[in-house]
Every structure is written in structure tokens, then in C-alpha cells.
Subunit: 337 residues, 2 copies
């Protein structure tokens, strides 16, 4: 058998409740016994049994991180893992551990069983697995939680997200500072909420500056290299050719820059380009593309921070928390002399 508290108590010549108090840093123990107990712990090389503690203290210091997963996802959607990394770091620095749960579909039963089995103190849930029914369950169960990403339906859950509207504004502000006003946008289809929010931000910033955006300059498409290429060609053929293009993601950007190069358009002199997200292609386009970067690691950290806050103070409430995007300037918007 492995050594238990009983052994420590015996060796130290105290009761097991005293040992427990020493381990948990209770203030009511004299320094002398603290030393005796710690000495015994060292000698016996004793480590508390976490399973027993979990049962006794009715909490596990264990948090679940839930996300939808697919094969190869680490390659084409690394952001989720960077969020997870931030979450885990913030959790472990506060004495919590993290269970990673990758779901193949929005599985309500798994979530239910997870919270009802009482093996976690809270959960961080990526918006990809969320359904309206699930939010209802989460709210009713009162499990401490943070959703990563704004749900696109009414809900009572606590969520945190990047400020996508602000991202759009930032991109636009930057382009306007180059004295370019004919801005085009290549983005996702209408149901792509993030793309829509960014577009809104772009429009807002433009109207602040009394500039309107031509409908022909807004292209909603899929998110492949090819789509980016074709959208760009379409923009080049528009009767009022834009002098700046904002791409909703790296793949569209890759296609866009390729098209501009093929048509011998000077970047940024004739057309400047800005993309959202910094990875993986913004760095290697020719020229490298200016990007609005989201610090997803930070997003994960904030999520954990808020979650632990909620675990500790059950009546602590928040509905939303926005993290801030960052501009990374590169040649695609750098004025040539």
C-alpha cells in the first residue's frame, strides 16, 4: 500500500486531522507541530491522495475545456489550441487542472453527464459546440462556465470574445491613414458571424469619416485560396477599382495577393491589403500582409481567470468580456518612398 495520512500522523505523533490541517495551511497549528508533520511528510515521501481529497472536499480543482474537433484540425484551425494553451496556463498557475474534451458533434448528453457526474468545478466551452438547448441546460445547472465566442442566439450564459467590430474599425482606420478611401472587403458568407461583425466595424468607421462603401466592393464568398483569387479579379474589373482590400482571413489573403501579383498591381501603391489573423500565411505572402491579430492566447487566459472567479464567488456574474485586437503593420500597407 502507498503511504497515507495515517502513516504521517503516526510518525509525527499527531492525529490525522492535525496532518490534514498542516497540509491545508490551517492557521490554528503551532509551528512546532507544523515542523514535525512536514518532517514526517518528507521522510515518508508522502503525497496526498487526490481522489480522496476530491471526494471529501466536494470539489476537484478540475475544469473541462470543450470544443468541437475534427481530424487535421490542429493544422487548419490552430486558434482553438492556442486558446486552450492560454486557458491551461492560467488554470495551472492557479492550482487548477484541465480536462480536454474534443467532441465530434454538439453532444448535449456528454455535457450533461460531465456536469452531473460532479467531477469538474467548471467548464470552458468553445462556441463551436454550443446550442441553444445546451445554454439552457448550462444556465439551469448553475455550473460555473465561460463560453468562448459570442453565441449567435439569445442566451443567459457567460461568454467572452474578441471585439470583432473593433477589429474592423482598426483595419479601416489604418487604411484611411494611408489616405486610401476606396476600401473593398472580401469576407465569408452571411452566416459567418465573425465576418459580418468585422464588416460592420469597417462600415461604422467609414461612416464616421463620411465615406460610403460601394456594394460592389463587398464580396461574400467561401474561404478558400481560389475564392480569394476570384474575388480579387472581380474587384480589379469593377468600374470603380478599389485602392485597398480587407480580407477576412489568411486563405482569402493568399489568393488576393496572388491575383494582384498576377495582374502586376503594385502593393500597396495601387492597392493596399490588410487581412485578419496573422497565421499562417500573412507572413509569407509577397509582400507580407498587414494583419489585425487576435491574441487568442490571452483570450484563453481571460476565460480561465473569469471562470475561476465564478467558481470562487458563485454570485459573481458577467455577460461578456471583450479582448482587444492588435495591428501588425507589414509591407502590404507600408508607404513606399
Amino acid at each position: 500500500m502507498s503511504t497515507t495520512m495515517k502513516d504521517v500522523a503516526r510518525i509525527a505523533g499527531v492525529s490525522i486531522s492535525t496532518v490534514s490541517k498542516v497540509i491545508n495551511g490551517s492557521p490554528t497549528i503551532s509551528q512546532a507541530t507544523i515542523d514535525r508533520v512536514n518532517h514526517a511528510i518528507k521522510n515518508l515521501n508522502y503525497t496526498p491522495n487526490e481522489r480522496a481529497r476530491n471526494l471529501a472536499r466536494k470539489s476537484t480543482k478540475h475544469v473541462a475545456f470543450l470544443t468541437l474537433v475534427k481530424r487535421d484540425m490542429a493544422f487548419y484551425n490552430p486558434h482553438v489550441f492556442e486558446i486552450m494553451l492560454g486557458s491551461q496556463q492560467a488554470l495551472s498557475s492557479r492550482g487548477y487542472t484541465m480536462e480536454f474534451i474534443g467532441l465530434k458533434f454538439k453532444n448535449l448528453d456528454v455535457v450533461k453527464n460531465l456536469v452531473e457526474s460532479q467531477k469538474i468545478d467548471g467548464m470552458i466551452v468553445h462556441a463551436s459546440v454550443i446550442t441553444q438547448e445546451m445554454t439552457k441546460f448550462i444556465v439551469k445547472s448553475k455550473i460555473p462556465h465561460v463560453i468562448i465566442g459570442m453565441p449567435n442566439f439569445p442566451n443567459g450564459v457567460s461568454w467572452i470574445d474578441n471585439d470583432n467590430n473593433l477589429s474592423g474599425q482598426l483595419a479601416t482606420k489604418h487604411i484611411l491613414s494611408l489616405e486610401k478611401e476606396k476600401i473593398a472587403f472580401i469576407g465569408g458568407k452571411k452566416n459567418d458571424l465573425i465576418s459580418e461583425l468585422r464588416l460592420e466595424g469597417i462600415k461604422e468607421e467609414l461612416s464616421h469619416n463620411m465615406i460610403s462603401m460601394s456594394d460592389n466592393h463587398i464580396i461574400k464568398t467561401n474561404s478558400s485560396f481560389k475564392d480569394g483569387y476570384e474575388a480579387t479579379v472581380k474587384l480589379l474589373n469593377d468600374k470603380e477599382r478599389p485602392n485597398a482590400i480587407i480580407c477576412a482571413n489568411n486563405l482569402l489573403d493568399l489568393g488576393c495577393i496572388k491575383a494582384l501579383n498576377d495582374y502586376s498591381i503594385k502593393i500597396p501603391d495601387e492597392i493596399a491589403v490588410v487581412t485578419f489573423d496573422d497565421y499562417p500565411y500573412a507572413i509569407i505572402t509577397n509582400p507580407p500582409t498587414t494583419a489585425i491579430n487576435i491574441d487568442v492566447y490571452d483570450l484563453g487566459q481571460q476565460a480561465s481567470r473569469l471562470l475561476i472567479e465564478k467558481i470562487k464567488k458563485p454570485n459573481y456574474h458577467f455577460q461578456t468580456y471583450m479582448t482587444v485586437p492588435l495591428l501588425v503593420t507589414r509591407e502590404s500597407t507600408r508607404k513606399t518612398i
Copy 2:
């Protein structure tokens, strides 16, 4: 209070040990009572308390996945996460859960505490966190484990890895099938074990075919775009210019292809190119690069499978398990007509 086994027992009119047996599928219970108990469970919406089960059964059905982590790692080193994905999938399909532990350095104390706290049944450890001291501890502790990646020192641990030697052979075989024999290799420095193993495979396959490799055609460098570019230029200037180049990774490949394009070398007619790993750049080079791909998801799955095997049969032993690389043929080695 939440409902417990006691409640179920009372409602079903049986003892709690009977309830336990029903839940755990004991064969000694009559169908009639099984039905009664299950009915009560449904009615009360009862879920067993996992904390209590863990303590009572002295096992947690919980496995740790350990790896070294750094900020932005999901972007520049997604492979680890794809391995994790495979592991988690294989674990959960067998009723196990996974704790993700990202370490900032090779922290022996964390590992010790992890196994001594008895909260995991086993662990999958990425080679990035392994030290010789740690392998000693792991072996001594008898904790079921699988190391992902061959340790580069003598050890008694169980590990699993891709067959990097075979990868090198595969790349070489493919190039030889194009009737090109002057093969060059751009790889990592000497301490890069994986790169060395691949090079060995290349050499082995060549010597099988009675072909020797010029020392000038082996370049060991760092792993940046720039290094790939420069190495390629050096190869182009060699008195005996190679007609095929094997790059140890995607970034080197990116630089290599760029250099070949800048020097107007026809790919693959004048020089064919093969790279290791398929992501993220092999797909987008011009032309796209043929790659030797490692199915890291599968690697993760195998690791979990073996780990659970070991958990269930403590005297089941293995030292190594090799997964097989895959050739993805693209334009960079496709014969033009």
C-alpha cells in the same frame, strides 16, 4: 443535495450495493431488479458521482497528456495538438478522459506529484518534456505510460514514434523512380535527431541502389525560410548540381522552392523537390511540393491504444512501436509530358 445511490436504492426498493452492481453491469443480478433499478435511475435523473467512484475503485479512468508548451505553439508547431487530438479520441472511445498538462520546462516535480497523487491511471508524455532522470522515475514508479518520440538516450520506458528512417527511404525511392539520382538533402543540425534519422534512411536507400551521395549535397542548417533559400543557392552553385532536393521541413522547402523559382529552375524537370511534413506550406508552394507525411493523429491514437493496454494488463510490455509515413505526390515531382 443531489441525488445519490441511496435515493435510487430507496425508490427501487433494493440495497445500494445492488444499485452499484446494476450500474457496473454485474452479471449476478436478475433482469427484474435490473429493470426496477434502471427505472428509478431514469426517474430520478441520477448520474453516479465520479469523485466517489474514483476513490472507491482506486482508479480514475483518467489519463494525463504531457507536453512542453510555449506561446504561439499552436501556430508554429501544430503537430503536437494533432497527436493530442488522436490520443483524446482514442481515449474517450474507450471510456477514458484526458488531462492536458502543458509544461514550460522539463519539470520532474510536476510529473512526480502527478503520479504520486494517484489521480491518473496512466500518462502519455511527449518526448519534449523527457529527461533521463524522468525516465528513471517513470520506470521505478511503474506508472503505465507511453512516450511519444524516441528518447535520444538509453532508457527503460515504452515509446512510440514514426519510422523516420523509413520516411527517408520512401522519399528516396520516389525520387529514384523519376530516374533522378543526384539527390541533395537540406536538413537540421546534427543534434536534430529526426533529421538525422531521415538522412540515414536516404543514405540506406541510395546504397541499396549502389548510388553514393556527395558530401556537398548534404547541408545541415537551421530551419528557417532563409536557411532553405541559402542552402538551395549553394546547391545550385555546386560543381555537380543535384537534380533532386529533399527538404527536412516545410520552412526549408518554402525557401528552397523560392530560390529555384528565382533562378528560373524548372521544377521538377531540372530539379525535383520533396519535403517532409505536409503542413502548412507544402500545399501552397509554386509548384506544390510532394511530401512525406506523418499521420500524427494516428500516432496519438496508437499511443492511447497501447497505454490502455498497459493499464489493463500491467505485465504487457513493449519498447517501441513505429507508425508508417505516407507519400503525397504533387507537382514538384510530377513528370511533365
